[in-house]
Structures are given as C-alpha cells and as structure tokens.
C-alpha cells in the first residue's frame, strides 16, 4: 500500500531579499546573495522546494579581536591583523558573504572613528567581491556615528547595516533608505518584540524586502531550544500570512558558541571533554546546523573548519532537491 505524505499548504511566504549589488546593479560586488522566499517549513521539499539555500557568512573583526578563543586565533593566524586580508581568506575558504564587525577600538588601540570605519569598509570591499553586512559595536551613539558615514560612502552597494534595535533604529534605517542599503534588526528572543521592531522600521518607509532579522539565539547547551522555538514560531506566523514576521533570519552561532566555556577554554577541564579545537568546531557546527533546521537563512560563523562542515550539512539537507 503506498504511503501518502500529508502536505501543508500555507497562505504566506518569506520575503526574498538580495544582499549586495554588482556593477550592473549600481554596486561593485562580483556576486550577490539572495535569501528567503520559503513557502514551507525548512526542508519540507515534498511540499515546496527550498527556493534559496541557507548561506554562510564569516565574521571579520575590523580590529584584531582581543577576546577570541585561542582556537580561532590559531586557525586564522596573522590574517586577523588585517580585515581586508581576513575577508579575502574567508572568500577563498568558500564564504557566501562577510560580516564586518566593528568594536569600540579603531586603529592603534584608539577609539573607533568614522574615518577609520569608512577606511576599513573600503579596504574590505576592495579585497573581496562578496556582499557585506556591517555591524557597529552595539552602542547607539557610536553605531550611528560610524554607520551613517559608511552608508554614505558606499551608496548603492546594498550593504546590510546593523544593529537596529528597539531603542536605536531611526538613524540607521534613515541612512539605509537614503543610500539604497538594507538593515539588520535584532530583538531579544521574543516573537512579539521581533514583530514590533519590524513594524517600527517599516513605519519609517523602509520596504520589508530590505530588512533581515536576528531573533537572537543561544549556543548548544546555552538556551538553543528557546531560540529555536522563537524562530520556529516566527516562521509559522510568516507562513500563516503575518507580514511582519515574513523576514529572512540571520543568526550568529559563531558569536554564541565561542563565548561558551566548552569552546573558549582549553585548560583545567576534564579529559573526557576531548580535544579542544575539535570540540569548539563541533560545538559551532552543531549549533549552526540546528538553527538552520529552525529556519535560519544566514548563519554567521567564525572557524574556517565550521564553514566546511556546515556547508556539507546544507548540501545534505538539500540533496534530494538537487538530485
């Protein structure tokens, strides 16, 4: 007797968003990345094909990171000293896009400045043809002071600017609207808060297809189920037709994983935990794959080996569609 698989049909779908712009499109990227468009829950390809595979972004710090795990420092070596070289290395390793993360420090350990920020963005864009996500250090006034000049200096590149948060979104959204960029909104693990920020940003006139959302996630063992559940509920609401949840999701397993003890610490831990570097990469890979299964459209990673493994996992998840 043949088994009939029940199929859901959904009234809504996720917005399709294109990151980056090539020369023809008013930018300078050699490739663009298109995400979103899902009409079903993740990888339910018997209902609908996955329109755009989840993509992998690699995180590049604008100034050499002071608090990264020794495992990451060893993996990247001296490339960490120059964001342009680092970004190039990410592209060579197979990344789909670059997340350029600014901290509070600029050149020579001084405070981050608009001049420094614009300079770094330009250098990175010269060294890689990948689309960019540019994030400020997360303090409203500093974020605004560097993101506005960056937006002005890169008009038309369709960079994703962030973070837009509930208390600080106006300036960044205005800069994105004026210069044909996109924005990343981040809310603390709650469906309603995610919707509210999206409403506020679109109320300013920014079209929904220029917003990507980060619903906030935790690493494996550090609240991943809570983040997973919020992502799942956002996606269910999107498929049910709630426009303010129909945004592609970007999540940061790299940031989350590499601050856990299991990944960050190598000394004074039980032998059964196994080899440190292997453990850290496993942790990042497992976190990322779980979030992809929850519906992530972009995962931001840190370790080059994780990039390879997550890439393989995505290929397997979509294998039956391409076969």
């Amino acid at each position: 007797m043949p088994v009939e698989i029940p199929k859901d049909s959904w009234p809504g779908s996720v917005n399709t968003v294109t990151l980056g712009a090539t020369g023809d499109q008013g930018g300078s990227r050699t490739s663009t990345v298109t995400i979103g468009g899902e009409q079903s829950l993740p990888f339910m390809h018997f209902e609908n094909p996955t329109p755009h595979r989840p993509v992998i972004a690699m995180e590049v710090a604008a100034a050499r990171p002071a608090d990264w795990s020794a495992v990451l420092l060893e993996a990247w070596g001296s490339t960490l000293d120059d964001p342009a070289v680092w970004a190039r290395a990410c592209e060579d390793a197979g990344a789909d896009l670059i997340v350029l993360q600014f901290g509070l420090k600029g050149s020579d350990d001084g405070p981050v400045s608009a001049e420094f920020a614009v300079e770094v963005v330009k250098e990175v864009m010269d060294s890689t043809g990948l689309p960019l996500v540019v994030l400020g250090p997360g303090q409203a006034e500093i974020d605004n002071s560097i993101l506005v000049p960056i937006a002005d200096a890169t008009k038309g590149e369709r960079i994703v600017l962030g973070l837009c948060e509930e208390g600080n979104y106006r300036t960044i959204v205005a800069a994105a609207m004026a210069n044909d960029h996109l924005v990343l909104g981040k809310t603390p693990m709650d469906v309603n808060l995610a919707k509210q920020l999206n409403i506020l940003m679109t109320d300013m006139g920014l079209p929904l297809d220029r917003i990507v959302m980060d619903p906030t996630t935790g690493a494996l063992g550090y609240g991943i189920e809570y983040g997973y559940s919020v992502m799942e509920r956002l996606r269910l609401a999107a498929l049910q037709g709630d426009a303010m949840t129909q945004l592609p999701m970007l999540v940061t397993p790299g940031v989350e994983t590499w601050k856990t003890k299991e990944s960050k610490v190598g000394a004074g831990i039980p032998d059964e935990w196994g080899e440190w570097a292997e453990r850290g990469v496993n942790w990042e890979t497992l976190t990322a794959v779980a979030l992809i299964e929850a519906g992530a459209d972009v995962v931001v990673l840190r370790h080059p080996q994780s990039l390879v493994r997550v890439r393989a996992a995505i290929a397997e998840l979509t294998a039956s569609e391409t076969a």
Binding site: E166, R170, D190, N192, Q196, L197, L200, D203
Partner: protein
C-alpha cells in the same frame, strides 16, 4: 463666486464670506478668536460653535453627539459656510464642556428609598428612662436594656466593660434622657451590641456617621457618611503611606514578612486612614466618636496588612489567604479613629489576588443585575477584571503598577486640584493645550491626563508605536535630559511648581506596561471562557485615575478594547462605592457575600499565555493592529 454674510452673536457687524470658507476663518476676520487645541484637525472638539440659522456643511462631526447636532453645534474648524448664517460662539467655559467620548464618574447618590430603620445595622435611638426610686430598684444596665427592648425589640444586649464604667454617670448627668447607638442584625429577638450611650441633648446636634473605606495599594479613599440620611458628607483620598515600603502587593508582603515589617505597614496604613478621617471630621465639624461603623473594601493583601494578619501565604504557592470572610470587628482593636466600640466590617474577598475591592466593585457596577455579557475592569495598581452577567462571573488579576494613579511617574500626581487631566496636542506645532483640575496652574499629571497625553503624542507622531520620543521634531518641547528623552507638557512659568512638567521615556514605558497588563488580562480571561470581546455588551471601568476617562484615547493607546464608545461606562472608584452601599444596606452587604461565593477565579500565572498577550500589548496601540480597526482607520486618515 458665492458671497454670503455671517453674523456672530458677540459682534454687531456681519462679515462677508466667500465660498469654501471655514467658520474659524470667518470668525477670525470678525475679530473672534476660536481656540483650536488640536490645530484645526477636528480631533479635539473644543472649537464647537452653535449654528443658529443658515446653511453649513459639517465635514466632520466625529466629536459631536446627536444631541449636540440637534442643538445646532458644529466644529468651527471643520464646518464650511454655505449660506447666510448666524452663529453663537459659546463662552470659553461652555467650550470646556465634555465630549461624547468623555465618560465621567457619577456623583455619589443615596440609594433610592434608603430607610435606615430597615436597611441599617447600626442605629441610634433616643430613650427616656424613668429614674430609679425606692419602688423601682432596677440596676442601670437593666433599665437601659429594658427601655431599648421596648423601643426596638432588641432582646439581648452586650457591651464592653468600658461602656459599663461610664454608664451610671451618663444616665445621671443627662437626667435619664439618653441616646443609645447599637449594632444589631435586625431580626426580632437577636443580640445587639452597645456602641455608645450619650446624653440625648448631645446626640440631637450630631449625625450618626459611618465610613466607607477603600484601601488601594497606591491610594486610600474614604467617604464619611450620615447613616440616617445616607448622604455622603465628605470624600477624601491620599496616597497609601505604605508606598515607601514597596510599590506593589508582592513587595509589601515581602517587607511585611520580615521582622517588624508587618507592624510597620499596619501603622502606615492606619496613619493614612486616620489622617483622612481626622481631616474629614475637621472639615465637617463632626466628632470622631460619632462614627459608629466602618465598611472596608480593599485587595486581600491590603486587608491582611491593615488587620495585622500575616500575609505570606498570599505570595507562596498554592496562594491562599489567611481569611476571606472576616467576622465583624471592634474599632479599637482595628485602630481606626472612630468610636472605640464602633464596628468594622471588612468585606469578603474571593482569593489571594481577588479581594474585597473587587467583590464590592462588582456590586457597585451592578454586574449581577444584567443578563448582558459585561466586562468590568478595575484599573488600579492591581488590575482586576471580571467578565460575566447575572448568570456567571469569572475573574482574574494582573499587576499593572501604580502609573494610572499617577505614582511612579516623574511628574505624576493623584487626580486632585492642579492635576493635568486632559491634553490636546496641535499636530503641526506640537504645542499642547491642557485641562487642569480646578482650573489652576498645573502641578503634575494624573492618570487620565497620562492616558490623554500619550494618546495625543501618538497621533501627532511625537512618539512612535514603541513609545519612543522622536527627538528629531522641530520643537523645543522634545529634548534629551539626563533622564533620557522627554516632552515638556508645561513650561516652568506656566506651572505651579516653577519647574517644567515633563513626561519621560521611562514614564511612557511605565504606562505601556500598565496598559498592556490590563489589556492582556481581559483578553486571556475572555479566551478562557471562549467569549469574543466584540460580543461584550457593556464595558464598565472602575479605578481612581481621575474623575473621568476619555474612552477614545484609552482605546487609542490600547488600554481598552476597540468597541463602540457607547458601550463603555466609567464608574470611578467602585471599591469605595461598593463599600458605601454595603455600609448603608444589610441586603447590599449580603449580596457582596453572594458575589464572593459565586465568582470563579482564573489564575493567569498557570501558563505563558498571559505573558504572550502582555508582550503583544506592549505597543501602541497593539502589535496586532487588526484588533484596533478604529485606531488603524484614524492613522490612515492622519497619514
């Protein structure tokens, strides 16, 4: 090109009108300034004039009732002159009249047909005793008891020892002409308790009084009542002095459970009550010993703290009170400044978080006397919500915080003289116009003023849906201070306090949390019993945030459900009103006991549905705008 003439009642010369002109424009040329607080957008309704004769076209009548229209009223900023007209401009105080969307709390009214003989448990009778003699050696006590029995049918009499100490002296000094105040259930042959014996001449000039008291977490209210006529002689409110020991019931319970904390809280609330009683006595010239009875409403925690009963179990699973149905208490042991032998009737509660304030409120709101599905919301520090009809009642409680009572707000205050109670903001200049209680320079903002202010800030774009103040607007009234973003409602030179009266981002957050808790509460309650909010026939609002509530603005910020305005009624402080009814009438008191016994309590903390509904409501007016079609429509028009 049409040319008409317009004649205004206050100006002798008629003025010429050209086609399409608005009444305000014509009035301006006639030298009459018509104040337009909302900037001529037809939102505030304050520019109403009366068209005595002639043809006009009213572009918007949103703010006028049918009665207003029948009387010829029109909004000067929205009305086009289309013929020769004669117009009456009401004097400014008439323009202050309330609008269709304003719901004012009713004044206290003595219940119809109030008969103390039948309804009252505390009575005072004049007795003329025959003095003892060698022929009649009945003891003093027996003589009083016998006379009282003859006059009232009271069979047995009890008294405190102190009463008996003074009895003989009073009988003799009054020449055996006395007034006896006593409390009795009222049925033939039952036991009465003596409250007071006094010379008849003294009683003649002194009304027999009672107190209706509402002990709120934030505000304490008392009504001093003449028990013979039923009239309210004085009403007064004050912040509960316990506020300094914590803003909500939970922090009070925690404080009260440590060391002498319980004694401290008891002393503070008694100080508050007695301060109000003493002030009421001074104002009315009444001796506090004339107060023979007090009936008290209040949430379960407040009742426990006043009566010195440890409240810990209210806070801890499985959340039970020490007592819901209190016995009748003696005033001296409670500590209220009234006659020591007076009686204190603490009204019954239902559960830890649904107390006597709500059972009294349900009585005052008349929920059990209507077959229609009715929603009753008591907006206080604890928002209590009751849904039901004469057939059934369900209830829940949620913590809203003290914002609606003006506490926890930088320039918040009680709804008292000097409080800004309504605000209109001009959408072009962002300049506010305020109505202040008592028509004096403002001192602060009360609960209704806050609702009004935030609603106006929202429709004029000063705040966004998240409640963030837009600092990019070109007005000195929005600014950044050390406390964050703020909007100046009144400049220092307009204010009584000589400092700018502002609303801050933090204040707005507090108000958002408060309104979200209430909205989430009645949504979850309605869901639990599968009643759609749209099927609610009547929404009754109780609370002490002001003398009135503008329903349109309360809907505008998402505090109340988006239902037709006529379905709402504002009842003011329903807890004290219910206590007043129970103070007067034994039947009303029995009804409160029946209400307490019949309400079904829904625990909101049982799962996360309340939290979900709460975060969803933490937005202006709500994350799901489809729940507020009238607000959505207004926003489209404004945009």
């Amino acid at each position: 090109m049409a040319g008409y003439t317009a004649k205004f009642d206050t100006v002798t010369e008629a003025v010429m009108v050209s086609a399409g002109e608005l009444v305000v424009e014509v009035a301006d040329r006639a030298g009459i300034e018509i104040h337009q607080p909302c900037g001529g957008q037809g939102r505030c309704g304050r520019c109403a004039v009366r068209i005595e004769s002639g043809r006009v076209r009213r572009r918007s009548v949103l703010r006028l009732s049918q009665a207003d229209l029948d009387a010829g009223y029109a909004l000067a900023c929205q009305t086009v002159v289309e013929g020769d007209v004669s117009i009456v401009v009401p004097p400014p105080e008439r323009i202050q009249r309330r609008l269709t969307t304003d719901h004012i709390a009713p004044e206290s009214v003595v219940p119809e047909g109030y008969d103390p003989e039948k309804a009252q448990t505390v009575r005072r009778v004049l007795l003329s005793l025959s003095p003892p003699s060698m022929d009649d050696q009945t003891d003093d006590w027996g003589r009083v008891a016998m006379a009282l029995r003859r006059a009232t049918g009271v069979d047995r009499l009890e008294a405190s020892l102190e009463q008996i100490w003074h009895l003989g002296g009073i009988l003799r000094s009054s020449d055996w002409q006395i007034a006896v105040t006593f409390v009795a259930g009222g049925t033939e042959g039952e036991t009465a308790r003596l409250i007071r014996v006094q010379p008849a001449t003294e009683a003649e000039n002194e009304p027999l009084c009672g107190l209706a008291i509402d002990i709120g977490t934030t505000t304490v209210t008392i009504w001093l009542v003449d028990l013979t006529t039923g009239r309210v002689l004085h009403q007064a409110s004050e912040y509960n002095q316990q506020i300094t020991r914590g803003e909500d019931v939970i922090s009070r319970i925690i404080y009260g459970s440590k060391g002498a904390g319980g004694d401290d809280l008891r002393a503070l609330v008694l100080e508050t009550i007695n301060g109000l009683v003493e002030a009421a006595c001074r104002r009315t010239g009444i001796d506090h010993r004339a107060i023979a009875k007090a009936t008290i409403g209040g949430n379960s925690t407040m009742m426990h703290l006043l009566l010195g009963v440890p409240p810990e179990s209210i806070r801890l699973e499985p959340f039970v009170t020490a007592i819901n149905n209190w016995p009748l208490l003696r005033a001296e042991e409670v500590g209220i400044a009234m006659h020591a032998d007076g009686v204190v009737d603490a009204l019954p509660g239902v559960a830890s978080y649904v107390g006597a304030d709500i059972t009294a409120g349900v009585l005052a709101a008349g929920l059990r006397s209507t077959p229609d599905t009715t929603l009753f919301i008591d907006v206080g520090t604890n928002g209590e919500i009751v849904l039901g009809s004469s057939e059934w009642l369900v209830t829940c409680a949620c913590s809203a915080g003290p914002a609606f009572e003006g506490a926890g707000i930088l320039h918040g205050m009680r709804a008292d003289k000097g409080a800004i109670e309504e605000v209109w903001i001009d959408g072009n200049t962002y300049e506010p116009t305020c109505r202040v209680i008592g028509n004096v320079p403002p001192r602060g903002i009360c609960g209704s003023g806050l609702i009004s202010l935030v609603a106006e800030m929202f429709v004029t774009g000063i705040v966004d849906k998240g409640g963030h103040i837009n600092l990019t607007l070109e007005t000195p009234r929005v600014r950044r201070s050390v406390k964050g973003a703020e909007y100046v409602v009144a400049w220092a030179d307009e204010a009584e306090t000589d400092q700018d009266i502002v609303i801050t981002r933090v204040d707005i957050d507090n108000l958002l949390r408060a309104k979200a808790a209430i909205y989430a509460g009645f949504n979850v309650l309605a869901d639990v019993v599968s009643v759609g909010l749209e099927s609610v026939q009547k929404v009754l609002i109780g609370g002490s945030f002001g003398k009135y509530i503008n329903v349109e603005k309360a809907v505008g910020i998402g505090l109340l459900p988006d239902l037709p305005w006529e379905r709402f009624d504002y009842l003011g402080n329903t807890s004290v009103r219910g206590a007043y009814l129970a103070l007067l009438d034994r039947e009303a008191r029995a009804e409160i006991a029946r209400i307490a016994a019949s309400m079904i309590y829904i625990e909101l903390s049982a799962d996360n549905t309340f939290y979900e509904a709460f975060t969803s409501a933490m937005f202006l007016p709500h994350t799901d705008l489809s729940r507020f079609p009238s607000v959505a429509a207004a926003m489209t028009n404004e945009g």
